[in-house]
């Protein structure tokens, strides 16, 4: 009999980093699969997701936020919001979770070699982008310009602050951070992410734009990208839905005839534009 696809492998939390604080806390969890053989065979491409189980609480579908070039562990960045994520935020290093995957499609990292990559993230939406950003940085010679536009409501809500500070010292990647409302000591852009994008006025020439964030942000980012001359097939986003099985059977994550868990989560704007469905 074939493997039970609902039964997860065991993984240990090897480290936890508090990314965002305040009312909407975000933590990044480092997960290490316990079984050596499973660990060595686990591979994924940026954009793909995993199901993380808390035994007795439930399961959640998360984008992997680490790069596949990082072999030691798999990371997920989790906003404390519902039942499972609230419980997970109580977990400590050494605790066990279930893990199954990887699921879904991925960013076209091969096809995009030689191109400029423009990342536009908002809030927790930076998590899946971090995977491909770190991947591209580890294979830096394969990609042209790398630009990261990232914003959150406040400095409390900004993820990966130290990583951005490190990247800021490099001259082969450009970081453009923002917060929505003025704060003392903040020297970068104040305003919404789509406005920051407009202000920076990036060229669509040989560029792929990849965006993830709250639905309202994605909407205006896409609008502004089109104004800047980006074509449908130069714009990519990664979506999420409420999910249970993660493998296209339980039915709830559809947009039109596509399931976000298996046909997504990565969609081109061209695909989305032609898709009539509830989002």
């Amino acid at each position: 009999m074939s493997k039970n696809p609902y039964s997860p492998w065991l993984a240990t939390i090897s480290g936890i980093k508090q990314e965002a604080v305040g009312e909407r806390p975000i933590k990044t969890f480092k997960l290490v699969l316990e079984d050596e053989e499973i660990r060595n065979n686990f591979s994924f491409i940026p954009g793909q997701c995993i199901m993380v189980s808390l035994f007795g609480t439930g399961e959640c579908f998360f984008a992997i936020s680490s790069s596949p070039t990082q072999k030691e562990y798999i990371e997920v960045s989790v906003l404390k919001l519902g039942k499972v994520t609230t419980e997970l935020h109580q977990y400590e290093p050494g605790d066990s979770v279930g893990l199954r995957g990887p699921y879904g499609n991925h960013f076209n990292v091969k096809e995009w070699e030689g191109k400029n990559l423009l990342f536009i993230g908002g809030g927790i939406g930076q998590a899946p982008l971090r995977s491909i950003i770190n991947f591209a940085l580890d294979k830096r010679e394969k990609y042209a310009n790398l630009d990261i536009i990232y914003g959150a409501r406040s400095t409390n809500d900004l993820c990966y602050k130290e990583e951005f500070a490190e990247l800021g010292k490099r001259d082969d990647v450009n970081i453009h951070l923002s917060i929505d409302v003025e704060e003392e000591g903040w020297n970068e852009y104040v305003g919404f992410v789509p406005d920051n994008l407009k202000r920076l006025n990036p060229t669509p020439d040989n560029t792929i734009a990849i965006t993830c964030g709250p639905p309202i942000m994605i909407k205006y980012v896409i609008q502004n990208l089109e104004d800047l001359g980006f074509e449908d097939d130069q714009i990519f986003t990664t979506l999420e839905m409420r999910m249970k099985c993660g493998i296209g059977i339980c039915g709830r994550c559809n947009i039109g005839n596509l399931y976000v868990c298996k046909d997504g989560p990565v969609f081109s704007y061209g695909q989305l534009r032609n898709l009539e469905g509830d989002m």
Partner: protein
């Protein structure tokens, strides 16, 4: 195809034999409800039902099913995951209900095979029963199915009054019959003709028809039509149309646990409930009833045929029979046709 005769007085013997080698399921009445359940005694069997209220889908894709057991908590782990491999028979399944498995198979075979469904499917022999007198909301013939179809069963029984005409369709069916050969008799050309007549009459008595012609492209143009608002006005969101549908396959997964042990369980769910798609953020892509009613129709008549090349409806009529506010799927589809032709 091998054909045989079973005299009605041998039915007791047949049930006895089948239930000694297999877990035998058949239509029974329980507390006024009809459903398929395990039968050990011939007397439990109730063949007067055309369609049981709950479709026999519930035997292959169970309403609740343990996916695996675990020790709960932060030091928790998976302790066991068992897949039931028992040999079973579903006796007196109607051709439309048998067809529902053909529709469900590609979903559970998927990118990641669902071993719970697949194992039961493989280990179950389907013994069909021809519908001699269809009911008022039967419309299987709209899907090129027939009340006497052998297409999706292993063996088909047809009631010829004093005896059953038995058609042995598949290898699986042959193997089963081989082990119980002595209860059957040879059939004659007359018996075959009798079955043909019964099916002809049965087909003629089906009055309802769903117009499926060009339905997918028609629906493509109607996503924002007011028809969905109008249809949803009546709906009370009870979900019975989905629970009794032989082709609905949506489920929820829940952890049930005490301090020391727990299990992840799947239970049938329904797209008619707002919680079904409610995100933890508060966002809900189908927050209003209109979008849920629309999604049910589109899933069956547009998305499913687009993905699997088959319409996710068998024409059993249960959703029409049991809808408390008389929403009639044939009428809805008829309206789609009228609007598309305007």
């Amino acid at each position: 195809m091998e054909t045989l005769i079973l005299q009605k007085d041998k039915l007791t013997k047949l049930i006895e034999k089948l239930s000694s080698s297999h877990v035998l399921y058949g239509p029974i009445e329980e507390n006024g409800f009809s459903l398929f359940k395990q039968i050990r005694d011939f007397k439990e069997l109730n063949l007067k039902y055309l369609l049981t209220r709950v479709p026999p889908k519930s035997l292959i894709f169970k309403q609740t099913e343990t996916l695996f057991k675990f020790i709960p908590g932060r030091k928790g782990t998976v302790t066991s995951s068992e897949i039931n491999e028992e040999k079973s028979i579903i006796f007196a399944i109607r051709p439309c209900d048998a067809r529902s498995f053909k529709i469900l198979d590609p979903v559970f075979e998927g990118n990641f095979e669902d071993p719970f469904y697949i194992s039961k499917r493989k280990n179950t022999v389907l013994i069909g029963l021809t519908c001699n007198s269809p009911e008022k909301n039967c419309f299987c013939t709209s899907f090129d199915d027939s009340p006497g179809s052998t297409e999706n069963v292993d063996i088909l029984f047809t009631d010829l009054d004093d005896k059953f005409f038995v058609e042995v369709v598949t290898e699986k069916g042959k193997n089963l019959i081989k082990s119980i050969e002595d209860v059957f008799e040879k059939s004659t050309k007359n018996d075959e003709d009798s079955k043909r007549n019964i099916v002809t009459n049965s087909v003629e008595s089906i009055t309802r028809k769903m117009d499926l012609d060009g339905l997918v492209p028609k629906l493509d143009k109607m996503f924002d039509h007011e028809l969905w608002h109008n249809t949803a006005q009546k709906c009370i969101g009870c979900g019975i149309c989905t629970y009794l549908c032989p082709t609905c396959h949506c489920f929820d997964m829940q952890d049930e646990s005490s301090l020391r042990e727990g299990a992840r369980i799947r239970v049938w769910d329904s797209c008619m409930y707002p919680e079904y798609t409610h995100h933890a953020s508060g966002h809900n892509p189908r927050a209003i009833r209109m979008s849920r009613v629309r999604n049910r129709v589109y899933h069956k008549f547009s998305y499913f045929p687009k993905n699997e090349d088959i319409t996710a409806c068998t024409g059993c009529g249960r959703c029409i029979d049991y809808c408390p506010v008389n929403i009639d799927i044939i009428d809805v589809i008829e309206k789609v046709g009228v609007i598309a032709n305007e």
